[in-house]
Amino acid sequence: MSAEEERFKLVVVGGGGVGKSALTIQFIQSYFVSDYDPTIEDSYTKICTVDGKETRLDILDTAGQEEFGAMREQYMRSGEGFLLVFALNDRGSYHEVQKFHTQVLRVKDRDDFPIVLVGNKADLEQQRVISREDAQAFASDNGIHYMESSAKNRYNVDESFLELVKIIRRFQEMESTPPAAHHTGKQKSGGCPCVLL
């Protein structure tokens, strides 16, 4: 493995008002500050350690750019992993997130890609209109991971992002494995789960 620092671009997508910015800000600001300046280079960056390895994350959220559909596409194009966010108390946002799922695959021109589906606002349990089972079923059908979070209570915020990092790593490892080696890897996988690089 190269000694170069690992760096991923994560894109947060979802309808308006589902809590994308809240999740992003919660994740990036681990503690409360009164002067969060979004114009400096590191303002959407967070360095964290996942499975013992340090990684630098660039979070892309199209805040305030709802009227620029193409900005979202632009962000999608450069994204290496996606958090697809909907609000558990908003059926419309759940339908919307399914459209975004299709859009991500189209922009990436892939059948699968590192994606975590996030049902946010888990704190509003009484107002929930999307059941965990439904969302989980959609996620499983599409081979993506599902998590429920609350940006308000800081529940599963870091976990969602970090889960995505793990999925990206697995995905990129598969990708970088040449087909032949991949083949042998698979053959060997019965006995030994390691992949030789």
């Binding site: 600001q29 979004p38 114009t39 660039d58 750019q65």
Partner: protein, 456 residues
């Protein structure tokens, strides 16, 4: 207080200083608001009262007289302005075109200007309403219901050419200017929502308009685009940025000039995609790519980064970028330019490439507006306005910094050596102001596949 110990003279100095500061504050406050002050009776009344009080003071303290002249001028200007704008509302025709744009310099649109606007029904009939620009959604649906003679609760919907529906909230204001390029306003009952279909005219053109600009130099096209962008940009009031960020419905203020400027970004981008996708001849299409890359380069030279990004984003749209036969034929010089330009769009490290580039430029600059808006939004959402019920001044300072960025960009007038052609090509001037576009991504993708089917 320490004042008691001071001499009479110190007391006087102290009073004088404070009074001068208050007057300076009011003067600056009026300058920041500009014409927007006149829209509020309370502000004008306050200015008048303040001027009277200050004039009284000046009798006892002659030293503040020099400030009074300036204050008096501001008060007079605003009082008269308010009277005039109450009497004479401009009527804006046809979706914010000013009608006789050739004759007049574009003026900012004000909240109490009136607009004539078509609102459509499910069956594609329409009714034309005439309302002030800052009208709320509830007032619009009220006006429509009146005309239709129906008492039912109507929803106001932005229907895009792709059939996407955006239902406006009742308290939102001045929504006319927020429609997508080919979007239309529809009014319907909730149970009619599913039966809403776009008008045929929303599809956009079925043939390209390359002929209108292929013989005109890219520099001239870029010049006219930039001249128009400057008109739009100049009309944006600094406060509109704040209203946009904090929610215009909360202050009942229009952000119409900003909306129209932001909308231009999408328009240019869809123009690029539409022209390429409507050009069936491969060799012409290669010419078109070259043309757009050159136009982008000239926009960049004019420091019109907004249009520059719009053109490059148009070219990087999947419907265009997938046309591999076309891109293959593009001379390598152009490929190199394009990939340099694309790198400037890279959002990594918080748009580092763009921020470094723009920091090196001198005004006049038209900044990449979507990013400016994002900075504002995140400053707002990432920082509390109040902390322990005290105003968070750190946040306000950051908001002000972004506003100042815009002020810096506009601090010099746009006055390049206008290409000679600008005089001899009035049709280009008109053309770039009335772009006909397809804004339905599905249609564009489909057209693109017809041009160059997927290779299997």
């Amino acid at each position: 207080m320490a004042l008691d110990a001071g001499s009479e003279q110190e007391k006087l100095d102290y009073t004088l200083n404070n009074k001068r500061r208050v007057i300076r504050l009011v003067t600056q406050w009026a300058a920041v608001h500009g014409y927007q002050l006149q829209e509020e009776d309370a502000s004008v009344a306050f200015l008048q009262e303040f001027f009277m009080a200050a004039s009284d003071d000046a009798k006892a303290i002659p030293a503040i007289r020099d400030q009074l002249t300036e204050l008096g001028r501001i008060v007079k200007h605003n009082t008269e302005g308010a009277r005039v704008s109450q009497k004479k509302h401009k009527v804006l025709l046809r979706q914010f075109s000013m009608g006789n744009e050739k004759l007049h310099k574009r003026q900012p649109i004000k909240g109490n200007d009136e607009i004539l606007f078509k609102v459509y029904c499910c069956d594609h009939t329409y009714t034309t309403i005439r309302v002030p620009v800052a009208t709320s959604v509830t007032e619009v649906t009220g006006a429509v219901a009146d005309k239709l003679g129906s008492a039912e609760d109507l929803l106001l919907v932005n229907l895009s050419s792709a059939g996407e529906k955006l239902i406006f909230k009742p308290n939102d204001v001045s929504v006319f200017s927020t429609l997508s390029p080919n979007g239309r306003l529809f009014a319907c009952r909730r149970d009619q929502l599913d039966s809403l279909t776009p008008l045929p005219e929303q599809e956009g053109p079925s043939t390209g308009s390359l002929a209108s600009f292929e013989l005109i130099s890219s520099k001239d096209v870029a010049y006219h685009m930039t001249a128009y962008d400057w008109e739009l940009f100049h009309c944006v009031h600094e406060l509109e940025l704040l209203y946009h960020t904090f929610g215009r419905q909360n202050v009942k203020k229009t952000t119409v000039n900003l909306d129209l400027f932001l909308r231009r970004f999408n328009e240019i981008q869809f123009w690029v995609i539409s022209e390429v996708c409507l050009c069936s001849q491969l060799s012409k299409r290669v010419q078109l790519l070259k043309k757009f890359i050159k136009i982008a380069a000239h926009c960049k030279e004019y420091r019109n980064l907004n249009a520059f990004f719009a053109v490059i984003m148009g070219l990087s749209n999947p419907a265009v970028s997938r046309l591999s036969q076309t891109w293959e034929k593009l001379p390598s010089k152009f490929k190199k330019f394009y990939s340099e330009f694309e790198n400037l769009m890279d959002p990594s490290r918080n748009h580092r490439a763009y921020r470094l580039t723009v920091a090196k430029l001198e005004p006049p600059i038209i900044p990449f507006m979507p990013l400016l808006i994002k900075d504002m939004t995140f400053t707002h959402e990432g920082n509390r306005t109040f902390i322990d019920s005290l105003v968070n001044f750190e946040k306000m300072r950051m908001i002000a910094n972004t506003v100042k960025t815009m002020r810096h960009c506009r601090s010099q007038p746009f006055s390049p050596d206008s290409p000679l052609a600008s005089k001899t090509h009035p049709e280009v001037r008109t053309y770039v102001r009335q772009l006909n576009v397809i804004d339905n991504q599905r249609t564009l993708t489909q057209l693109s596949h017809e041009l160059e089917p997927r290779r299997s």
